[in-house]
């Protein structure tokens, strides 16, 4: 039995979904860890793009922000942000996008804008950022999000980012060129859209997680795939690589920054 945490399971599971040489639009947090874990294990030639404009970046430590200097220093090159969104993302030059959110619904639509009413929210969230157009244009997207009935909801408070809309081929009829969410990686395992209804259903579990746990964590009646597989445990090499990356990151971020002297 592995000692991997659920965060580590999520990160490893996400990393494994990335093919070598694929072009990946990376978000901060778990997606950044997953993409760099893939790069440091089975996908050395993966191309990582952070929305700050760093193309082909190979950070030695994980960035705290999406625009840390480390990303620019280790990038093949850096482009202005209009280029990222027009010439790379909208132009269909990105294979994989990673998304997070505060809420997700059964069709993979996301909310990262408000809890409550838009005009008078109970919680104001950060907002869209790159997500709506990443979701529209990347060939496929992965959503990484821990599951609670407050995050996996029957009805979004606000739809920031379209997944499969109302399902049943809704997305294919929209102007979005990308394929939409291929998987949701959450802390009990993986969900994937049903082939015809587009509804997310449970397809795989992490070690120690159960279908019952999954059902309780999800705020809609969760569909279960015909076959629910067990995600193979993180290997020693995966875990060692990931933990070394996090250790390097902690060490780097613990270095005091010298205040610039006027």
């Amino acid at each position: 039995m592995t000692d991997a945490t659920r965060d580590e399971w999520m990160t490893v599971a996400a990393a494994r979904m990335l093919r070598d040489r694929c072009v990946c639009f990376v978000g901060i947090g778990l997606p950044s860890a997953a993409c760099n874990l893939a790069r440091l294990t089975h996908a050395p030639d993966i191309v990582l793009i952070y929305e700050s404009g760093t193309i082909g970046t190979k950070p030695d430590v994980l960035p705290l922000s999406i625009g840390d200097g480390e990303l620019a220093e280790t990038a093949a090159f850096v482009v202005p942000m209009p280029d990222v969104f027009a010439y790379y993302l909208q132009a269909g030059r990105v294979d994989v996008g990673f998304l997070g959110a505060a809420q997700i619904d059964r069709f993979g639509n996301l909310n990262s804008t408000v809890i409550g009413d838009y005009e008078a929210p109970s919680t104001r969230l950060p907002g869209a950022g790159g997500a709506p157009e990443i979701a529209a244009h990347a060939r496929e997207t992965f959503v990484m999000l821990k599951a609670t009935p407050r995050s996996f909801v029957g009805q979004l408070d606000f739809r920031t980012t379209a997944g499969f809309g109302r399902g049943h081929g809704d997305r294919a009829r929209s102007a979005a060129h990308g394929g939409g969410p291929r998987a949701v990686i959450t802390d009990f395992g993986l969900l994937a859209p049903h082939a015809t209804t587009d509804e997310l259903q449970l397809t795989a579990l992490f070690e120690g997680a159960t279908i019952d746990e999954a059902r309780k964590a999800v705020g809609w009646p969760l569909g279960i795939a015909d076959e629910v597989t067990q995600v193979p445990a993180p290997t020693a090499h995966e875990l060692d690589t990931l933990r070394a990356l996090h250790a390097r990151t902690r060490q780097a971020h613990a270095q005091p920054v010298v205040l610039p002297t006027p």
């Binding site: 700050s52 960035p63 840390d68 969104f85 909208q90 804008t113 950022g129 606000f158 920054v257 610039p260």
Partner: protein, 282 residues
Amino acid sequence: MQAMSLSDAIAAHVEDGASVALEGFTHLIPFAAGHELIRQRKRDLHLIRMTPDLIYDELIGMGCARKLTFSWGGNPGVGSLHRLRDAVEHQWPRRLELDEHSHAGMVAAFCAGAARLPFGVLRGYLDNDLDKANARIRRVECPFTGERLAAVPALNPDVTILHAQRADRAGNVALHGIVGAAREAAMAATKLIVTVEEIVDALPRAMNGIVLPHWVVTAVVQCPGGAYPSYAQGFYARDNAFYQRWDAIARDRETFLAWMQTHVLETADHAAFLASLDRQAA
């Protein structure tokens, strides 16, 4: 172009009620200039910025802003901007009007502004609620294919304020590293104020480098460390620990106001601001 002090530049060029874009994406955020706006108690500003970041949290919390045009308002890698949230959720210290976009939409709006076109076009805002929340996200029909695309109104700030690595004595400004939409925000503005790490006789040779030419620049201010706690590639790193500390500082109104009093209102300029943090750290 005019070389001047930061306080003179802000006093001369930023009026109450102006639309002001302090751009820079994570990198080269003009903190020093933002603090000077607060010291001079500017009011009713329409703040424009893709990623409001801490400096807009400060401006909003200090009551300088009536409106915010933005596309992502968080503390990067940390969490919420508590002052922004307080303004939206509880109208404290005043109501804040939101003009909310996605990054792709806002980038298109800056590009249109820089090109002095009235609108930008993107294949975006697809099948989501953003155009319901913001009436300034509309559609335009392609005259060739009939496809309906998203249209956003151009952003043309009254004043754009940037921080950059270098200017020469003529006022040409060179920046490198992550540039975000800084160049477009600069070219879109009526006035452009740039704080720089250093003013040099000649910019480093870079045939295809990113340069803002002197006749587009209204004022250049020498302001070393002017992007701190953000960073200036080649000069100093981002103070990630400060961004993490900000979460606790800004969470409560009182700790926020006390911190602003000590470190911004009671410091005469950016050098004094930095010194006040240095003393604290020591």
